[in-house]
Assembly symmetry: C3
Homo-oligomer: 208 residues x 3
């Protein structure tokens, strides 16, 4: 049972919580960036630092996994969960680097809307991951997962409408290519959040 | 052995068969769509419904996996197989949404050829998955898998030739971007079918 | 322990070594191709043959995995490692096919730089995989893995700068689309090398 963990196993949950905090920080930083595009290099560099921190946490988790004989949950689940959490950070970073690199000077409404959804999805990922170490309240976790699924669907609807609009209204084909790529990367952020929700839902079923 | 399954375990095979049927339905609907592009919104909406049904089946399979102590095959194999089957549906849906969204008014011969290959690959996936619950005839399954591999190679050759032709002949760069994306998505449908064939081939080796 | 292997288990290492050799061959062939673009069809066809050889080795590994009761390392690790090694070949092949198909007549400096990094990453993958069957010198393996990580970061920096430059300087939007795709595929080669490095690092921790 989850309340009988030895100190070492508790570390897995601490690492999950820490990477989830970095995800929320990165999503907020990205949203701020869109409101301050004159300094996009500063914001994208801050997000790159957060992404590196995520890599470190992932490495620490892998090390701990290989050194721990008895793990608090299935080894594959731990591996899968940390990999997908790290993927979320990677896609927020990839989106931020493109905004800076492509010299996007004004953020279309659709990009702002997708960024807001990423923040909400990130916050729900954090709540779900924090609750993992205490499976006494599986209802709260399930609610977060349902919300993440809803947000992913919403992002998908916005993505499709935005790209359709780009093809109809954006006369500059190069800008179209740039914006389409950034929208797709932001939608992928919510896809990876959904992957995390699915893994966490599976854990509730298995261990609760 | 596979003929001694308890009822609960038999459910896995029922779920695999059901999602395979949805894959065949979606592939046929996509082919019909290309011959009826004036109503592409109707067809893409029908495919979206099938894709949602696929999500439900995947969720049911995951639930069953977490609740079942002894599974008829390796847990990882079940997880991997249902995920890849669901991916096939996702990519058929993604292709259909693009055709509708990008207002493709006439289907180039290459798109029709790729759609036909997707139908054939889907039908072989269905045959292979149906045969899984009865491993007495592994030769039939192996034949389907070889055929899926052949179809994937054929799709890849068509994709490469089509994209080369687009760059040479399609003057409208925006239409080029749209068509290239749809061709690539259709080719990915056959890639995911090949993934399923590989998983199924592995199962024959292991359990037959 | 690794020095007590039965003949059959030793075969896994022989297969890993063989696919790693093919990866190095393909990376070198790609580099030669860029210096001999008048014959790009010849070079891309040679790389396609190497890629097919990689598929055969992957299939043989899967067969052996399913037929072997006791494996020298975790079954999932073997599956994961061979899949990622095969992915490296697939992405070198995809890059080569695009260069030939898109009729790239002169290789920009960035493409040459990325090709060189792929060769170096491939050689380090080969060294790491060769050392796997003899875990007495884990320091050498760890050094290769660190180097692969460094090369992946370098490729990422080059990719970002190259794509930014394309958007600024390349007037031909179609050529921009072609080159951007090839650069991204080459960077993905180094991503897959990094995946292999991560798997190998995990194995050192677990078995050394």
């Amino acid at each position: 049972m989850f309340h009988l963990f030895l100190p070492r196993e508790e570390n897995f949950f601490a690492l999950f919580r820490e990477i989830a905090e970095q995800i929320v920080r990165a999503a907020h930083e990205f949203e701020r960036m869109l409101g301050d595009l004159g300094k996009s290099a500063v914001h994208s560099s801050a997000i790159k630092d957060i992404e590196h921190r995520g890599d470190e946490i992932t490495h620490q988790t892998m090390d701990l996994l290989h050194k721990t004989f008895i793990t608090p949950m299935d080894r594959e689940d731990i591996h899968h969960l940390i990999t997908r959490l790290d993927d979320i950070l990677d896609f927020i970073d990839a989106s931020a680097q493109r905004v800076s690199l492509y010299e996007i000077h004004s953020a279309p409404a659709e990009m702002v809307a997708l960024a807001k959804i990423c923040v909400q999805a990130a916050e729900n990922v954090k709540l779900a991951v924090e609750a993992l170490s205490n499976l006494k309240k599986p209802d709260g976790i399930a609610k977060c997962c349902v919300e993440i699924n809803r947000l992913e669907n919403e992002a998908d609807v916005i993505l499709r409408a935005s790209v359709a609009r780009l093809f109809k209204e954006e006369k500059d084909t190069r800008l179209l290519i740039k914006l389409k790529e950034i929208y797709e990367l932001l939608e992928t952020v919510t896809d990876r959040c959904e992957d995390v929700a699915n893994i966490v839902e599976g854990m509730i079923l298995e261990y609760a």
